[in-house]
Amino acid sequence: MVLLDIRDLDLSIARGGELLPVVQGISFTVEENETLGIVGESGCGKSLTALAIMGLLEGSAVRIAGGSIHFQGRNLLALAPVERRRVMGERMAMIFQEPMTSLNPVYRIGDQIGEAILQHRRMSRKQVHERVLELLDLVRIPDPERLIDSFPHQMSGGQRQRVMIAMALACDPKLLIADEPTTALDVTVQKDVLELMHSLQTRTGMSIVLISHDLAVIAETCDKVAVMYRGRIVEHAATSALFSNMSHPYTLGLLGSIPAHDQDVEWLDAIPGRVPTLDELISGCAFHPRCFAAKDSCRTVDPVAAAVAPAHFVRCHFPQGNST
């Protein structure tokens, strides 16, 4: 069953009296018990998409300019704010990209996790304390008895990240949005955290939206993948289909720029150029200035998403995959 259904979502940023489009016409669905991965350049709109789903854009410069977000069949954007916060608080949780800005610096972390638990359940102080320790243990925090009394600044980046994960899992969400949950962690801890999320998913049937810049993490953990560039989904497919038949030149570029740990190469195939800023106007396809396959039409005509195989969509005039 479809849990989350996003259609044609447009987000804009109000800047200097203007509205700059930042996310344009994004659509995807997430089934129950399914994991969707979102990968893409820094600044392409991944976190803003997540915040839009969570209803956390109020009061910011970001506006929802169009589209719908259906969760369990109801359009969240049409709900009254109170009702919306209730749905979100009970059934969705998010692991934020920057743990330092989302943890309260003046409260001990044990109290912050306890607070998250009490928002969803009634428990005695002692039960809460035990549950907090259990959660800290679950996310492999060493020496939880000692850390439970720490303030956020007394922990390493990786430890703070794990506290955030514990807080998000405290309420058994239906939908977990994890924004770069393991980027600050080394691979051994990363593996544990990803396995933890997976085992919770198997147990509770929750759905996960995993945002990452690491294609390998996505390949290992997600059922399907959306690749974003400059506010748009440029390639979208089941994980196995995507990795066996990468079609967008940007997706291929991402793969090529990962240094391999299992072979020696002299030089990496870097994508040339740089990530465009929001206020830069690019005619045609937004990726064409950096694209090895660009031809004249790419400079003038913005491509639309088209299927290169069943359920495999690519926004490119010259898809590179093998089934075209």
Binding site: D186, T221, W267
Partner: protein, 268 residues
Amino acid sequence: MTRPLLEVRELRTHFSVGGRGFMRRKSVIRAVDGVSFSIHEGEVLSLVGESGCGKSTVGRTLTRLEAATAGTAMFDGRNILNLSPAEFRPLRRDIQMIFQDPFASLNPRLSIERALAEPLFIHKLVRDRWTARKRIAETLELVGMDAKSMSRYPHEFSGGQRQRIGIARVMILTPRLVIADEPVSALDVSIQAQVLNLLKKLQRDSGVSMLFVSHDLGAVRHISDRVAVMFRGKLVETGKKRQIFETPRHEYTRRLLESIPRIKGRVG
């Protein structure tokens, strides 16, 4: 090979924390606890390991941003850990650090020209602005940037460009040892590869020695000659890159390599 450029023996850096407030005991964190390694001229040694195992502290101790608790670090025949600040000052030019965060390491109020001129004047490598400007232009081109960008300010550049500027600021001093602490992890994936290629090329062309601190094992494989694996303040294994990646001996190294996520069915 000849005598190493840097030889670190039994390095220890401990921090004491806590101690204030009711009933709070003071405790000692042994961030670096008996680490030994050496780096030869023109060699790149990578330091890898768990988050919090002490990698950055090693780098910060060698550049004297932290005080060592014990041990020696012979650089070019002198123990840099017990030199007085005045004795160490001339060596600052030889031992340079590239930081993780390209945003925090540049002063937002200084133009790129001033940011790069400052170290040149401090170390008395140039006497006048014209020579400085010429050196700056050359170095910017070396890191793949337009010499014209020297009149601009940090906020006008992207993360990858700022990291190039940070690298230029280090290379302009022609150091003998560069300590690069996670130099690409704050950068966008597509830009990481550009900067890694640049570091490798500069290192080869200039023959500078490098200590490359990272938890990205792919980047480590790309850039290093030898690898040291750190675990809870100690080195558990040091070896040639091939040996570490292909026949790891220590259990933690094996676990590290097994934990790397893999892309199955890579496109050919």
